[in-house]
Amino acid sequence: MLTLLDLLHGPLKPEILLVVSAMFLLMYGVFHHDPRGGNVSWLSVGVLALVAFLIAYRAWNHPGAFDSSFEGAWVNDGFARFMKMLVLIGAAGALLLSFAYFRDVGGMRFEYPILVLLSTAGMFMMISAGDLIALYLGLEMQSLALYVLAAIRRNDVRSSEAGLKYFVLGALSSGMLLYGASLLYGFTGSTHFRDIAQAAHGMAGNVPNVGFLFGLVFLLAGLAFKISAVPFHMWVPDVYQGAPTPVTAFFAAAPKIAAFALLIRVLETSVPGISSQWQQIIVFMSIASMILGSVAAIGQHNIKRLMAYSSIGHGGFALVGLAAGTEDGVQGVLVYLAIYLAMTLGTFACILAMRRKGQYVEEIHQLAGLSRTNLPLASLLAALMFSLAGIPPLAGFWAKFFVIIPAIRTGQTGMYILAVIAVLASVVGAYYYLRIIKIMFFDEPAEAFQPMPRPVRFVLGLAAAFVILFSLYPAPLLDAAARAAHSLF
């Protein structure tokens, strides 16, 4: 029987620290009258940093450490640590981006950073989930916090609408996921991933029966919703556009990574034996996401909506690596997510720099002639756009490179086709990224933006530096991703 003290000394330290801190900050906010949430916000960033330190410390001292708890329902391996670090970076970055925003538009509440912490705790649970129950708990803990975050500007119609839509559709997807989970349990007799894997392996003639496959399909549909893969992507444009911009940044950065982690873990630990079956689904969703993400973004005028489609498209690209089903492929996905995290945080930092007289603007044409009013910002945004488009030598190119190469290495015809489609889709996608650069550099200048707040500038600087300089010294990220991927196989 575990006691709280055991847990505190055990491998769950980061999660417990997160949850306890969230509770503590909640009480601090209530009793200490911090309605603007200034202290709570900074303290939350501090908590995230501390958690990151704990994880890094563990990884540093025991590089290959495999911790598990709750009878294997919670596992913490190299893969989990890698993904948790990414999630922490995403959450902290999104928090840093939000300070000035809420000060300008009002509506800042101390609950905001606490909700970010709680959803981060949920994501940790997802990343470390070793069985279906843990999976669902983590997913819901994360999602409930996110629904509220989307609607946090409750006086704003769009924000409320975004929260509501996200909630309704999220509930639907949760329903599917639960249905799938129950089917899997029913046909295998276990909720534990490794037991499910064994059961699937032992099915007659190694061909899983239809009920099991249906369960997998529904489970995947629920997860696909979270990674915003087509055709479960419909909520993304509306929610990204409606939610407050820092929240959108958070959505694009952290939960997506956690959902990818969950997807990878489910597929690689619970159903590795029948990869030829689920690969088809992944390939389908990958192709559909890449094409839709590339094509639909062309028609957008709102930059947040554009980023929503961009996010869908990039999700599709990341799935290319997963579709390969190899260790290299998973490594590619991890590299992709890390680079995408930097690109998306940097881009949202730029979007948050688009303000005039305290008003935030979101239309793409507002960027017109930015190069003449603010050349540094225009240059960095251009670099980020080139990177998102996948132009060498920026990081975005390598991200695509490392998912497409494993797909080709499998030597399967289907994978070749997938790789070709990926390249073509990135050509189409390049159009709308380049259009933004064209608007910034060649159109008649619009009115200048206000100077950027310092935290936003900090996030932009770090993200852009990573994107631009990645190719000079890619080894640390590649090695870390390789180790993380290896712990799954």
Binding site: P231, W235, I298
Partner: protein, 687 residues
């Protein structure tokens, strides 16, 4: 410099080493300084820097000339600079090779180039882009020096292409003028044809010899005579194929018959450029190349005959066209073309010394004529049509006098056995050589054409003098009254060149082709065992040496009659039936431009339009980028339309999605059974 026992040594002393590097790199330094910082330095500083560098290089070249060619020292100096590239068997070092032939070229190039630099200070005085001009000039000089100091085929090709590029840039220097741009492109493209052959030749040399070092190839060349190689599906004599391909490059660069069309048009460039590049240096690169590669050419009589044939034809053809041109620079341009033909004839009959000698003297008097023409043009406010000149000798006496010297040198005024102007020695040496060359149809042909060309050379040169400087003026009043002598900065280079045009022949004949031949060249020019031309020339009949003189004198006489004594005659003669057709045939340059227009340009344009409209427009744009872009737009619109904003639509899409996936997912196993069953029934092997 050393007079010690190190005469055989290939390593010269440190000073000489530095000197050769300075000769090569001073122009490059000047070009880099003015090219990159010219705007900051200003026009004046750019002029001074490049001119100073060039003058130093010129003085050093004369020192080098005296040490290499005139002294009894090392035959060949080689200064390795760096390893250039290594790829498989191909190992190319960059080094400076200086022997007598190079020394002659160094003197020619740097002397003329430095004088042209100085002259340009005056001539380009009103141009706003002087730093660029001087940078180009210096860079050209560097490329030319790289060419003549090359020790491998590849280095020669580097210089070859470098001068071609600079020629392109300088012809098109006034890029606002459409005609200048067209001329620049023409020069570049026509040269590409020749360079294509040259490049193939180099490839061939590498394929045959497995190296492209001059010395190694030269040493191995005799062993390849009589060998055959496959080329274009046939078996041909190895050395003939290689030499003809290499000569193709020379034909392009030296504007020989059929590839000559770019040279007259190149006169669109500033006149100093014409003097430097299109008279004295670059266009002689082809002659230099044949002389440099004499060990190869000597191995193939067929190739040599071809060289004679092309050279003689060019000499004759260009002279006929020169007879009727009215643009003062074009007359001189055709004259250049014609004189280059003389040089090739000399090389082709094995008299390389005579060819290089003519190259040497020609550089002086042709640069003099061009720069003199530039002085006239300068005086006449950019009027180039001789029909609008006349009577200028009183207005610009210095220019007149200097042009007169140039004309006397070009036409080869002199008395056999006594002496004369520079051209007299070199041109007559070539004609003599053509006469005594082995009894061969090509050589008989060459001798006749060269004498005829000498007559025409004399005629068109004096025609130019008379139309420009004598008789009644045909210029409009205003221009004539304002015609003025050029400043000293332009006249001094002319005077220096005039001295060369007078004395270069008499002074250097002994070295280049006379008694000092062996001592002077020290084996830089190769002669095959059967090549006895230098001996044969001593025994020519008297009438042969007088033939060119008579041709020259009668050309002068005819020109005097037609343009001084009876100025009405030219128009009357042209009006004669029969002559009329010939006149237009010549005026239109044998219709080469028209021929090429219809044979090459029109089909190329047609093909281009087909590929543009049909290939690019209809197929690639229609089905490719534009077509895809259009369908992307269509798909985008429907995808955006799908995004209705209603939650139930979104939920519906999700459910459709999951249904679809589940259906497809569940199907394959049954579907496979169904298909295999159906197939079994079809082939009657079912259960």
């Amino acid at each position: 410099m050393g007079t010690g026992p190190d005469a055989e040594s290939l390593e010269p002393k440190a000073f000489a080493n530095t000197m050769y590097q300075a000769i090569l790199f001073l122009p490059l330094a000047g070009a880099i300084i003015t090219g990159f910082f010219g705007r900051a330095l200003g026009a004046r500083a750019s002029e001074l820097i490049t001119c100073a560098f060039m003058l130093v290089a010129a003085v050093l070249s004369w020192i080098a000339f005296s040490q290499i060619a005139l002294a009894h020292e090392a035959a060949t100096v080689k200064i390795p600079l760096f390893r250039w590239l290594t790829s498989g068997d191909l190992d190319v070092n960059w080094s400076i090779r200086v022997d007598a032939l190079t020394a002659v070229m160094l003197v020619v190039v740097n002397t003329v180039s430095s004088l042209v630099h100085v002259y340009s200070i005056g001539y380009m005085h009103e141009d706003p882009h002087r730093p660029r001009f001087f940078a180009y000039l210096s860079l050209f000089t560097f490329a030319m020096l790289a060419l003549v100091t090359s020790d491998t085929f590849l280095q020669m090709f580097f210089g070859w292409e470098g001068v071609g590029l600079m020629s392109y840039l300088l012809i098109g220097f006034w890029y606002e003028k459409p005609s200048a741009n067209a001329a620049a492109m023409k020069a570049f493209i026509v040269n590409r044809v020749g360079d294509f052959g040259f490049a193939l030749g180099i490839f061939g040399v590498f394929a045959v010899f497995r190296t492209i070092d001059f010395d190694t190839v030269f040493a191995a060349a005799p062993s390849k005579t009589g060998h055959f190689m496959t080329f274009l599906g046939g078996q041909y004599d190895t050395m003939t194929v290689l030499c003809l391909l290499l000569f193709m490059g020379a034909m392009g660069k030296s504007a020989q018959f059929m590839l000559h069309t770019w040279l007259p048009d190149a006169m669109e460039g500033p006149t100093p450029v014409s003097a430097l590049i299109h008279a004295a240096t670059m266009v002689t690169a082809g002659v230099f190349m044949v002389a440099r590669l004499s060990p190869l050419f000597e191995q193939s009589q067929t190739a040599l005959n071809f060289v004679v044939l092309i050279g003689a034809t060019t000499a004759f053809f260009a002279a006929t066209v020169g007879l009727v041109q009215n643009d003062i620079k074009r007359v001189i341009a055709y004259s250049t073309c014609s004189q280059l033909g003389y040089m090739f004839v000399a090389c082709g009959v094995g008299a390389y010394g005579a060819g290089i000698f003519h190259l040497f003297t020609h550089a002086f008097f042709k640069a003099l004529l061009f720069l003199g023409a530039g002085s006239v043009i300068h005086a006449m406010h950019h009027e180039q049509d001789m029909r609008n000149m006349g009577g200028l000798s009183g207005k610009i006496p210095w220019t007149w006098g200097l042009m007169l010297v140039g004309t006397l040198a070009l036409t080869g005024v002199g008395i056999p056995g006594f002496g004369g102007m520079a051209g007299f020695y070199s041109k007559d040496a070539i004609i003599d050589a053509a006469f005594v060359a082995h009894a061969n149809v090509a050589h008989v042909y060459a001798f006749d054409l060269l004498v005829a060309a000498a007559f025409m050379t004399s005629f068109y040169s004096w025609r130019l003098m008379f139309m420009t400087f004598h008789g009644q003026t045909r210029a409009d009043r205003d221009t004539y009254d304002h015609a003025h002598e050029s400043p000293m900065v332009m006249l001094v280079p002319l005077i220096v060149l005039a001295l060369g045009a007078i004395g270069a022949g008499a002074l250097f004949e002994g070295f280049f082709i006379g008694e000092g031949y062996a001592e002077f060249w020290k084996g830089a020019l190769f002669a095959g065992s059967g090549n006895t031309i230098r001996e044969d020339v001593r025994h020519i009949p008297l009438w042969t040496s007088w033939a060119p003189v008579v041709a020259m004198a009668s050309g002068f006489a005819l020109a005097w009659v037609m343009y001084i004594a009876r100025p009405a005659w030219p128009a009357a003669i042209v009006a004669l039936p029969g002559v009329n057709g010939i006149y237009y045939f010549l005026l239109n340059k044998w219709y080469f431009d028209q021929l090429y227009h219809w044979v090459f340009v029109v089909p190329a344009l047609w093909l281009g339009r087909l590929l543009w409209k049909g290939g690019d427009g209809a197929i690639i744009d229609g089905l490719g980028p534009d077509g895809i872009a259009a369908s992307v737009q269509r798909v985008m619109r429907s995808a955006v339309k799908l995004q209705s904003g209603f939650v139930y639509h979104y939920a519906f899409v999700m459910l459709i999605g999951v249904t679809l996936i589940a259906t497809v997912f569940a199907m394959p196993a049954d579907f496979r059974h169904y298909v295999s069953d159906a197939l079994s029934h079809l082939f009657g092997r079912g259960a």
